[in-house]
Subunit: 254 residues, 2 copies
C-alpha cells in the first residue's frame, strides 16, 4: 500500500512557465504528484470552462510517483479532466501556481490559477493557490520555497475547513526580507482599465486592454497590505458570493 | 438636458440570442439604452478577460435613445469597452441577460452574464443579471417580463447598496404560476462532471465535457429552492471571496 498522498498540480501560465516548474520541484518530496496543466498561457481566463469544443490530454512524462500531462483547456478544465479521466478519483490535495503575478485583492476573480483552486474546493479537495508578486517570466521563485513548503506541510498534515481553500500571495523580495506568513482578508480593489486605440492596415479600429490596479481599501488585515509590507498573505476563500450585508439592506424592497 | 438614465445592456449568449432581444425590449422604455454584447455565444466564459489579442467593436444600430454594438470579446470585455470607449463614462445602470439557463447556486462562478454584472458593481454601477431556468434558444421569456420590469423599476428608483449587485433567476413556468419575488442566498451546489471519451479519425482521443448539477444544500432561503418552487429568486452578490468562518478556524495555524 502506497501511503504517500496523491497531489494534483496545475496553473494558468501554462505547463512551461517557470512558476509551475518551481512548484513541482518543491512539492514532489511530499507525495505522488500528477501535473495536468494548460499547454499554453491562460492568464485572465478566470473560471472559464470549455463546453463548445473538445478537450485533449497529452502525456508528457511518467516517472516513479510522477506523471505530467498537457491539456488544451482552461485551468478549470484541467482540474475536471484530472479528477475524472487522469486520476479516476479525487486527489488528496491540489496546489496551483506559482502564478507569475499577484492574485491578491480583486485579481482573484480574473485568475485561472485560483479558479483551479476553487474547482478543487468544490470537489472537497484541500486546495491552495500560490502567486508571486512579479509578472516577469524571469521572476526568482527561490525566496518563496520555504514558505510554500511550510504551507504545503501544514495543509497536508491538518487539512482545511470544509469548503475553504487558500489564496497565498508572496512578496517579490529576498527570503531574509520576508517577515512571515499572515492570515488576511481579501482587499477591496479594482482595475482602472484603459484601452490603446489603434488602426489596422485596412482602416479598422481595434483596442488593446491595459489596466492599472486601483486600491480602494487597504487595511492592515488585507492581503494587499500584507504583500506590500513583505508578508506572505494567506486568505481563506470560499465560493459563496452572497452579500449578507446586502440582504439586510434589501429586505423590504424585494 | 436629457434626464433619462443611461443604461448598458449585455449578456453572454451573444447579441443575437432571444434572451437579450427580450431584455432590450423590456428595458428600452426606462431610459437611453446602449447594448454592447458579444458577437457570438460566450456561455461558460466566466470572468475571462482578453489581454492576449485585440478587441473590436462594430456599430449595428443607432436610433433615438438607442445604440447597439457587437464585440469580439467576453462579457467582461464588453463592459470595460462600453465604459471606456463607447460611452466614455459609467452608465447609470447595467442589466445583463436574459441568460438562457440557470445562474442560481454555483452556476454563478461559471457565468459570463454574472461576470458582466460584477464588472458593473466593481465600477460602482447598480447592476443586475437576469436568467431564465431554461437552456433552450426557443425559451419563452414572456412570463418573465413583468417581474423584470418590477425589478428594473425598483433598482432605477432606489439604487443598490454600494458594492452589491443582484443575481435574478426566473422559473420557467407561465406567469400565473409564478408566486412572486423572493430575496435569497446562493445555494450550495456543484457540478458532477463527466466526459464523453471519443476517438478522432486519426486515432487520437478527445473528450467532451458534460455535467449534471448536484444539489448539496437546498434550504428554503436559497435561490435554488426558490426557483424550483416557482419564485423569482433575487440574490444580493458581492465580489469578496473571503471565507470569514475559515478565518477563525485557521487563526492559530497560519
Amino acid at each position: 500500500m502506497n501511503e504517500k498522498p496523491l497531489i494534483l498540480i496545475t496553473n494558468d501560465d501554462g505547463v512551461k512557465a517557470p512558476g509551475i516548474r518551481a512548484l513541482i520541484n518543491y512539492i514532489r518530496p511530499f507525495g505522488r504528484v500528477v501535473v495536468v496543466a494548460p499547454d499554453r498561457p491562460q492568464s485572465g481566463t478566470a473560471h472559464a470552462v470549455t463546453i463548445a469544443h473538445p478537450l485533449r490530454l497529452e502525456l508528457i512524462a511518467s516517472e516513479t510517483d510522477y506523471e505530467e500531462y498537457n491539456c488544451n483547456g482552461t485551468p478549470a478544465d484541467c482540474v475536471k479532466l484530472a479528477f475524472k479521466i487522469v486520476m479516476r478519483r479525487r486527489p488528496d490535495f491540489l496546489f496551483s501556481g506559482i502564478n507569475h503575478g499577484s492574485n491578491a485583492s480583486i485579481n482573484i476573480i480574473y485568475s485561472g490559477t485560483m479558479a483551479a483552486v476553487l474547482e478543487g474546493a468544490l470537489a472537497g479537495v484541500p486546495s491552495v493557490g500560490f502567486s508571486l508578486n512579479n509578472y516577469s517570466l524571469k521572476a526568482d521563485f527561490g525566496a518563496a520555497q520555504k514558505f510554500i513548503e511550510t504551507i504545503v506541510a501544514e495543509v497536508i498534515s491538518g487539512g482545511l475547513p470544509k469548503g475553504v481553500c487558500l489564496n497565498v500571495n508572496i512578496p517579490d523580495v529576498p527570503a531574509d526580507k520576508i517577515r512571515g506568513i499572515k492570515l488576511c482578508r481579501q482587499a477591496e480593489g479594482t482595475w482602472e482599465e484603459d484601452f490603446d486605440e489603434r488602426e489596422d492596415p485596412h482602416g479598422g479600429k481595434y483596442y488593446w486592454m491595459k489596466g492599472v490596479y486601483a486600491q480602494i481599501g487597504n487595511g492592515e488585515d488585507t492581503d494587499q497590505w500584507a504583500v506590500e509590507h513583505n508578508y506572505v498573505a494567506v486568505v481563506p476563500v470560499h465560493f459563496d458570493l452572497t452579500a449578507n450585508h446586502g440582504m439586510e439592506l434589501l429586505r423590504n424592497r424585494f
